[in-house]
């Protein structure tokens, strides 16, 4: 190499300037200090009182600025998540991006029959298996909420199905502290004990405060259980512009951030240094239809805003992609592509809901395969290109000179694999070849590929002893949880 110059040309995007970030931060602090949050949990209230928060009308607590700053300081800036087999899988922090599935979709599109039906446990297994196969999907989640298991066992069965069908990290919901404990038992059985699980956590729990400005008993009891056990938790508000927050994006961001920050305060008061991932899902309530619009541009903007905020806090960031389309169609592709690109540019760390359809209500495993391809595409974009003397390629240009071509030049041979991204499934056939292969639309290609994965991809089997232990835990839990009413 005959030049010291070597740079990487990469797309860079920030929405907020430093002073805008500080303005939002200050305003969120103002909301916490002067308005406060409702905390419907005795221990939560005690922790806040003990830390010097003022209680206003019973269970509303005003949180002083310094306490928030302290919690931001004590929460870890990097969380390492392992695979179920104990290998490092995701480093959540900085601008590292990791994409994965989402949880709990009520309806499933059945690839075999082409029908929409209630979700079943096999939809969870299938999603996990497909995601296990997909290289660019870094973590699994239930996708479907199974109607064919006892209601109180839904979340437990979901996690078990994911353990059986994938080795990737698991992102999961739970109805309450009780089934969450059972799920942690399942996970410990796979890790080889509670201690091993806390040392090399492969799962992330997902719980949420309730907008506007409330922490429910149920959500906090799950937050505290994870804090106690050192299990990483995503504690992230799901807010709707114009319904549960102000309609203005700036106001929504301020309020959602106040909710998220107060969650960090509660979590860190319970267990300083315990792993927490923050962010918020803040999208519009569509004023024409009244739905929560996953695919909206405003959702992408609020994602960018909190990504900038949490980079400033230096805390791991959660984010969301998705679509409002009720079928794997052009709208789904468009909204997923834009959301995926934006989330990657944001530098969010744990980006969930890849493969989601229908406003967070519908699953179709072929959508996971589409997301996998979009993510791969987007990662290529983010890699940008390298620039040095070799890549500026004056020698090659001189060799070929005016006229001629580069096809057989050594420079092309040396570099084409790294420079050129190859699609997994997107069509690049010439028109005749495309027609001779059946002239399939992308949706058909995705569906065929998904059916092939389901027919051929075998996830690693769990060791017999572990499988037996999982069966035993689930069997026991069925009786334990049978008549329980989970706390809201």
């Amino acid at each position: 190499m005959d030049s010291g110059l070597r740079t990487q040309c990469v797309p860079q995007y920030r929405l907020l300037t430093g002073s805008q970030i500080r303005e939002i931060h200050r305003t969120s602090l103002e909301v916490l200090e002067t308005i406060g949050v409702r905390v419907a949990h005795e221990e939560g209230a005690r922790l806040l009182e003990g830390a010097g928060c003022r209680a206003k009308e019973g269970d509303v607590f005003q949180i002083p600025n310094w306490l928030v700053e302290e919690a931001i300081g004590s929460a870890p800036s990097r969380i390492t998540i392992y695979s179920q087999e104990g290998e490092e899988a995701m480093r959540l922090g900085g601008r590292n991006i990791h994409f994965g599935l989402g949880t709990d979709l009520v309806t499933a599109y059945d690839l075999n029959t082409g029908e929409m039906r209630d979700s079943e446990l096999r939809d969870v297994s299938n999603a996990a298996r497909v995601a296990d196969y997909c290289e660019d999907i870094d973590f699994v989640a239930s996708m479907a909420l199974p109607h064919d298991v006892p209601t109180n066992m839904m979340y437990v069965e979901c996690v078990k199905a994911q353990l059986e069908n994938s080795t990737k990290p698991v992102f999961f919901t739970a109805a309450g502290r009780e089934d969450l404990s059972v799920i942690l038992e399942l996970a410990a059985a796979v890790s080889g004990g509670e201690k091993a699980l806390a040392e090399r956590p492969f799962l992330i729990h997902y719980s949420e405060p309730t907008a506007p400005l409330r922490h429910s008993r149920g959500a906090l009891s799950k937050l505290f259980l994870c804090a106690e056990r050192g299990i990483p938790i995503c504690y992230t508000p799901g807010d709707m512009l114009g319904a549960s927050t102000p309609i203005t994006l700036a106001g929504g961001v301020v309020q959602a951030n106040a909710e998220a920050l107060s969650g960090i305060v509660l979590h860190q008061l319970k267990s300083k240094g315990a792993p927490i991932i923050t962010g918020f899902a803040l999208g519009p309530l569509d004023m024409k239809t009244g739905i929560f619009a996953y695919g909206a541009p405003e959702f992408r903007l609020t994602n960018s805003a909190f990504a900038d905020l949490y980079h400033y806090y230096d805390l791991p960031i959660w984010s969301t992609v998705g679509t409002d389309a009720h079928a794997l169609d052009e709208q789904a592709a468009m909204e997923h592509a834009i959301a995926t690109l934006m989330a990657a540019l944001d530098g969010s760390n744990l980006i969930h809901d890849a493969g989601y359809l229908g406003q967070g209500l519908l699953s179709n495993p072929a959508t996971i395969v589409m997301s996998d391809e979009i993510i791969s595409f987007v990662k290529r974009l983010l890699r940008g290109f390298e620039m040095d003397r070799e890549r500026l390629a004056v020698d090659a240009i001189r060799r070929v000179g005016p006229g001629g071509d580069f096809l057989s030049d050594d420079h092309t041979y040396e570099h084409f694999r790294r420079e050129q991204w190859q699609p997994k499934l997107l069509n690049r056939d010439d028109p005749d070849t495309w027609l001779s292969k059946g002239g399939k639309r992308y949706e058909e290609v995705l569906t065929d590929k998904t059916l092939e994965i389901l027919a051929t991809h075998e996830p690693r089997p769990l060791p017999r002893s572990v499988q037996d232990r999982l069966d035993e835990i689930v069997h026991r839990a069925e009786a334990e949880l049978a008549d329980l009413h989970f706390e809201a």
Binding site: V106, H147, N152, M154, L285, K288, G290, F486, A488
Partner: protein, 213 residues
């Protein structure tokens, strides 16, 4: 129709909250009764709003502003209604069921029903079936609307229907249910009288179940 009633309907449609008091006074001065103002001024306005919203020509905040305009007039008109008029007004009790905290959809349903002229009482979220029952006894609604967004909490709606049967109250009140995971089939299974997929459909359903507000 008298000109002032037409102007009231128009003001409701346009959401002109600030002119409602004056228009209402004008209508009363002309000798119109409270019932006439309600039935021939306010409600035709709100009906139009309902149609326009369903057609996608009006937005939620505009519908709610129209409802606010109607309420502004109702502040004056309500005390003048005869007890028979008030008694004839449909009462709807709504709430999100035990274990569930999702409230935006339920709130929207409540607001739309209010806009349709019903008297609506909202019990909030995480509502026990005992609380529903108690309110049914004391407030005597014609219809209850239960909301659930979680599969784990949906069955609480069935529990309430059962509790109503056991208390011998089932034929005194109609039951409608809704929320993202709820379906017509589920409503049938638990013995509810109706299901609606969104707030505008919920107001229509309420009309169909208990008649005109």
């Amino acid at each position: 129709m008298s000109d002032v009633l037409a102007r009231m309907a128009e003001a409701v449609i346009e959401g002109h909250v600030e002119v409602m008091e004056e228009l209402t006074q004008e209508a009363l001065d002309e000798g119109l009764t409270a019932k006439e103002i309600l039935d021939q001024g306010l409600m035709p306005g709100m009906d139009h709003v309902g149609v326009e919203f369903k057609a996608g020509n009006m937005f939620v905040p505009e519908v709610l502003r129209s409802a606010k305009a109607m309420k502004e007039s109702m502040k004056i008109v309500q005390p003048l209604l005869t007890s028979a008029d008030i008694e004839s007004k449909g009462r709807i009790l709504i709430g999100t069921v035990k274990g569930d905290l999702h409230d935006i959809g339920k709130n929207l349903v409540g607001m739309m029903c209010e806009g349709a002229g019903f008297d609506v009482k909202d019990l909030g979220t995480d509502v026990d079936s005992d609380v529903f029952l108690g309110e049914i006894k004391s407030w005597e609604p014609h219809l209850i609307g239960m909301s659930a967004l979680l599969t784990t909490t949906m069955r609480a709606m069935g529990d309430t229907v059962k509790a109503l049967e056991e208390a011998g109250l089932r034929d005194r009140v109609k039951v409608m249910v809704g929320g993202a995971p709820v379906t017509q089939r589920f409503a049938d299974e638990i013995g509810a009288d109706g299901y609606a997929a969104n707030a505008a459909a919920a107001a229509d359903l309420a009309r169909a179940l208990i008649g005109r507000a």
